[in-house]
């Protein structure tokens, strides 16, 4: 061990200890978080084991709905891709690539697995009862009218209900939901919108 001086050994041991400690903290903080991921994502844990934050999916997304996650949202998931439906929605590259999402095709480490057709699901739309216009005053049918999957129906009282089996989490409902402009409320995205797409894992929990 002549070549591995005490100093060189200490640096490597320190790097190992520091990385394991911070990785452990990041794991603990991320435990029950389920982040909305691009189409083809595996379980959150499996996704984070594979994603090397290369941003290929972010740069290839023609709809620009894939964005790097902020470190403030998740330390472990910093700069990993998430979906943001505030400017556009995910059409699963229907016209671009015949319904095969480009993001999962370019992923080099299978964090996103290429899929097509019915199997591809981003997440599930969930009605936010505190913000949804139809829950307060009735009459708003924006999401019901626009849903490409016909996954949203109205109940007897005119309130939207999402059919989990049909919803593919494309985000069009969240994009067009008018509640944030009809209510003068300055809260965060998920508070202001009457319907938001959440990760499947979170919805089940």
């Amino acid at each position: 061990m002549a070549g591995l001086s005490r100093r060189g050994f200490l640096v490597s041991a320190g790097v190992l200890a520091g990385l394991v400690a911070s990785g452990g903290v990041a794991n603990a903080l991320a435990e029950d978080k389920a982040v909305l991921r691009p189409p083809g994502a595996q379980s959150e844990r499996g996704f984070l084991a594979r994603c090397m934050r290369c941003q290929k999916c972010v740069s290839v997304c023609h709809a620009r709905v894939i964005q790097p996650l902020s470190i403030a949202e998740s330390i472990k998931g910093a700069s990993t891709p998430t979906l943001d439906f505030s400017r556009n929605y995910c059409d699963f590259c229907a016209e671009e690539n015949g319904g095969r999402p480009r993001c999962s095709e370019v992923c080099p480490t299978k964090a996103l697995l290429p899929q097509s057709g019915k199997a591809t699901v981003n997440g599930i739309a969930v009605v936010n009862e505190r913000s949804c216009i139809a829950w307060d005053w009735k009459g708003c049918t924006a999401c019901v009218d626009k849903c490409p999957q016909d996954a949203i129906a109205l109940d007897e009282q005119g309130r939207p209900l999402v059919d989990d089996a049909l919803c593919d989490g494309c985000g069009l409902c969240e994009l067009i939901c008018p509640s944030s402009s009809l209510r003068s409320y300055g809260g965060g995205r998920s508070e202001a919108k009457g319907i938001v797409v959440v990760a499947k894992e979170r919805e089940r929990a």
């Binding site: 591995l4 050994f9 990785g23 984070l48 084991a49 941003q55 290929k56 290839v60 790097p68 910093a78």
Partner: protein, 290 residues
């Protein structure tokens, strides 16, 4: 510390190259290509994800071959020419440390002059570099995700680039705008020896450079070089604190080919070239007999 010189043309060129790399990647993102960032070419990123997920990713092959070829030809040149963290790094940060505490911990004091004959300036031992890379890979295996990527300055620079993009284009500023620059400053400025001691990419590049038979290296014209009259201008300019003998024969694999030495040489003796190992040995021989 001596005051900075008024003009640093070679530094400007290097900064220009690093900015061009960043701009090209930014353009790739803006025009919706599938290029991703430099991280898509990182063999260590692939290795970490493979260990964390316990599966092999065939996509690693192209980046691996490209990076090994680049390191075999250019050694650590990426560190001073292409690495975006160079835009943040204080010049000569590693120079602030004494040259005796380089990676490998070998006391290189004295070098050629004091040792008299064998001017084998091949400095660092490979074990610390191997141990460092092993530590990074082992950590990812243990925690189950590529944990070094959280700290990698290259990733942080690109993270910052995306954060700036987002705040300018869709008006969504995030904490990344504050946290990433802070981490970069702590890693590269306060913790000045990051590049020479912590960066596993640089370690891997010097390991490859070490065994490469055709690496581009600094070479002095021994007819004009005044190393014997204790001219150490090249060594004083070297951000890696390499000793004059190893600069003269280009024998140190931690050299980043930044060319500060060539610029500082008062006799214009230094150039870069590819010298096969055998020729280098002969050169050392002739030098030691002189």
């Amino acid at each position: 510390m001596k005051p900075p010189k008024p003009s640093h043309p070679i530094r400007l060129v290097r900064t220009g190259v690093a900015v061009a790399v960043l701009a090209a990647i930014g353009a790739g993102v803006a025009f919706g290509t599938d290029a991703g960032t430099l991280c898509a070419w990182c063999p260590l990123g692939f290795a970490q994800t493979s260990l964390a997920s316990r599966e092999f990713h065939a996509a690693v092959l192209a980046p691996l071959v490209a990076v090994i070829a680049a390191a075999a030809l250019l050694g650590r040149a990426f560190c001073s020419w292409g690495c975006p963290s160079g835009l943040v790094k204080k010049r000569g940060a590693s120079r602030a440390r004494s040259s005796a505490t380089k990676r490998g911990g070998q006391d290189s004091k004295g070098g050629c002059a004091s040792q008299g004959k064998s001017c084998s300036a091949s400095a660092a031992h490979p074990l610390p570099s191997i141990a460092l890379i092993a530590a990074v890979l082992l950590a990812s295996l243990i925690v189950g995700f590529p944990v070094f990527c959280l700290f990698c300055p290259i990733g942080l620079v690109f993270g910052l680039m995306f954060a700036i993009f987002r705040s300018l284009t869709v008006y969504q500023p995030s904490w990344d705008l504050v946290i990433f620059p802070l981490m970069l400053i702590i890693e590269l400025r306060l913790f000045g020896s990051w590049c020479s001691r912590i960066c596993p990419l640089g370690a891997a590049a010097s390991l490859i450079a070490r065994i490469s038979p055709f690496k581009l290296k600094t070479k002095a014209n021994l007819g004009t070089c005044r190393i014997d009259s204790s001219c150490h201008a090249c060594s004083e300019a070297c951000p890696e604190s390499l000793e004059p003998p190893s600069i003269v024969v280009g024998s140190d694999e931690t050299c980043t080919l930044c060319l500060e030495c060539a610029q500082a040489c008062p006799h214009r003796s230094l150039a870069v070239g590819i010298s096969p190992r055998r020729a280098e040995k002969e050169e050392r021989m002739t030098e030691s007999t002189e």
